[in-house]
């Protein structure tokens, strides 16, 4: 059992003007794999390090397993951490690196040997036990670093961008292995990354952070489909959601009007948008939910929009089509099209957006309207 309760947690670095973490509230369940994601400098590491005890908590409370942790030093919190740069002891062999924490805890020799060998087997590094860190590849080092954390059998595992120094292929492989490890160990994991794809593929739930403020804490699919604000909508998903700033005006019917395009708001959405009449809003639509009207007949699509193709990026399974609306050539958007459809630069197409996937945000607060 290891839950993590974070209540009004704040971090203000000495001399800093504003809080690096602002009143974070998170309730992490036992055995949950939680990912902290956000752009570089948003405070992910700071939050993780507060959980670890490496960074003092300015205010608020941190509980692991129901017990207050604020004043405990890292070694008394029963946590283990894996660092981006591995942080292995360069002068020790792999065995000693993994055994060090156990030795300090006065574990009997026989038991240490057993635990280290067991962990080495799980991670497939038994043949490396006598090596030193400098004689190993990045991937091997990261395995050792993970090994060092699992031998101690801690309540909580903390990972700080453990894969960002590995090459793309190894990264994908290690992702799957860490997921597998999570199932094997039945442990609570908090995992930091700046890579939203890593977050989406690994997390049971994801915390999206921006400027030290928790934007949303939700499952990957909910983040994707029901982002609570414009930031989350834009951060999750690749290529990102398209945004157009405009106004809701009453003509014959409620209409979204902008420099790029204007279209009548579908009936179902009108009640929601009614209070925003005359106000600035941001219209958001994902590249995934744009369809070529000449081809797609089955879906309920929005009113027709005329676009012109600017550039094409075929990636094999599909093609990213970059385009602008006929009204405004200065602003480009993206749409993911089936790679069977052979478009060419300069083509004029009529598209529509899946009605259920139209998103609107308040222009000033960036909160989602619907």
């Amino acid at each position: 059992m290891a839950t993590i309760q974070i209540e009004n947690l704040e971090k203000v670095y000495p001399g800093a003007e504003r809080a690096t973490i602002q009143k974070a509230n998170l309730s992490i369940q036992d055995k949950e794999f939680v990912v902290l994601v956000g752009p570089s400098g948003c405070g992910k590491s700071t939050l993780l390090r507060m959980i670890a005890g490496l960074e003092e908590i300015t205010s608020g409370e941190l509980q692991i397993d129901g017990g207050r942790m604020n004043e405990l030093s890292p070694k008394d919190r029963d946590i283990a951490m894996v660092f981006q740069n591995y942080a292995l002891y360069p002068h020790m062999t792999v065995f000693d690196n993994m055994a060090f924490g156990l030795k300090l805890r006065k574990t009997p020799k026989q038991e240490i040997k057993h635990k280290v060998e067991h962990a080495a087997k799980i991670l497939d590094i038994t043949h490396l036990l006598d090596r030193r860190p400098k004689d190993m590849s990045g991937g091997q080092r990261q395995r050792v670093a993970i090994g060092r954390s699992i031998v101690r059998d801690p309540k909580v595992f903390l990972f700080d961008e453990p894969l960002s120094n590995l090459d793309a292929k190894l990264r994908v492989q290690m992702r799957a292995e860490i997921k597998k490890l999570h199932r094997q160990l039945d442990a609570t994991i908090v995992y930091v990354t700046h890579d939203q794809i890593e977050a989406m593929t690994m997390g049971d739930r994801i915390v999206v952070l921006k400027d030290g403020i928790v934007q949303q804490f939700d499952s990957p699919m909910n983040l994707f489909n029901n982002p609570q604000n414009k930031f989350v909508a834009g951060f999750i998903g690749s290529p990102s959601m398209n945004f157009i700033e405009g106004k809701i005006v009453m003509q014959k019917e409620a209409t979204f009007k902008s420099k790029d395009l204007q279209f009548a708001v579908p009936k179902d959405l009108r009640p929601c948008l009614k209070p925003y009449e005359g106000k600035n809003v941001v219209f958001g639509f994902r590249p995934e939910y744009i369809y070529d009207k000449a081809v797609e007949k089955g879906k309920r699509l929005s009113e027709s929009m005329e676009i012109e193709v600017e550039a094409l990026e075929p990636i094999g399974s599909e093609t990213f089509v970059y385009f602008h609306f006929s009204g405004n050539p200065d602003h480009s958007f993206c749409f993911r099209s089936n790679s069977q459809l052979a478009y060419a630069v300069g083509d004029k197409i009529t598209i529509g957006v899946d009605i259920d996937r139209l998103r609107f945000f308040e222009a000033d607060t960036e909160k989602r309207i619907m």
């Binding site: 390090r49 670890a52 490496l54 030093s73 890292p74 070694k75 946590i79 283990a80 951490m81 660092f83 981006q84 740069n85 591995y86 942080a87 292995l88 002891y89 360069p90 002068h91 060090f100 924490g101 300090l104 805890r105 060092r148």
Partner: protein, 274 residues
Amino acid sequence: MKALKIQKILFFAILGIATLIYIGPFLFSLSISFNADKNVFDWPIKLLPETFTLDNYKNVWNELPFEKWLFNSVLVTLVQTVTNVFFSALAGFAFARLEFKGRKLIFGLLLSSLMIPGIILLVPKFIILNEFRMINSYAGLIIPGLVGVTNIFLMKQFFETIPKDLEQAALIDGCSYFRIFWQVFLPISKPALAAVAIYTFQGSWNEFLWPVIVTYTEDMYTLPLGMASLRTELLTDWPLLMAGTILISLPTLVIFIVFQRYFVQGVASSGLKG
């Protein structure tokens, strides 16, 4: 092509001359130390001895309290080398890694003490030691050189290049700060420690000024002081003096040759990056 060749020749010529300037006096001392004739400076000066002898070396051992001086020198040098390595590492670690009030101020004070020429401090140091009744004692010889600011600075710079993650991994593994220092930082700082050890050894072994001030009986002399005491106004036994000097310079020479690699590394790592 040709210009390059000329440049190369010039380069070697300059290096050759510089080497000669540095090594020439040493070679001349070496030659004198084997000379049987005591009047080595009689005109015309001979660069090589006419009669070659080892007697000077024997006499250094037999006629002088060389053993006693050697003991003094070894004692002072060993103690100071060990304490310098230990204390400068400890202090360097604290300045590099621990957060405490006044850290910057204290370090600044230490550094600024380097701006005061050592000569100026001789008298105050003497007076202080006199108060403690340490003049002409081992304590007086050793204590002022237990740790040096330059060494602390060097160690601090080196420790600052060690990634913070390593220290934090150790904290999570359950280390106290002293254990981090002892079991993580020290073992990976061998080049810097060796550099401190070598600098200290060399400085301490060759130190002349302080022993002159703090000792006044022959039995407390260190080797350089002992040798200097052979030079009297009336008569100086040059071959004997040179033989002693050559002997004294041997340990530094050996250490330099053996640890040359560390020497250069240590200098390099005292810069910004290790």
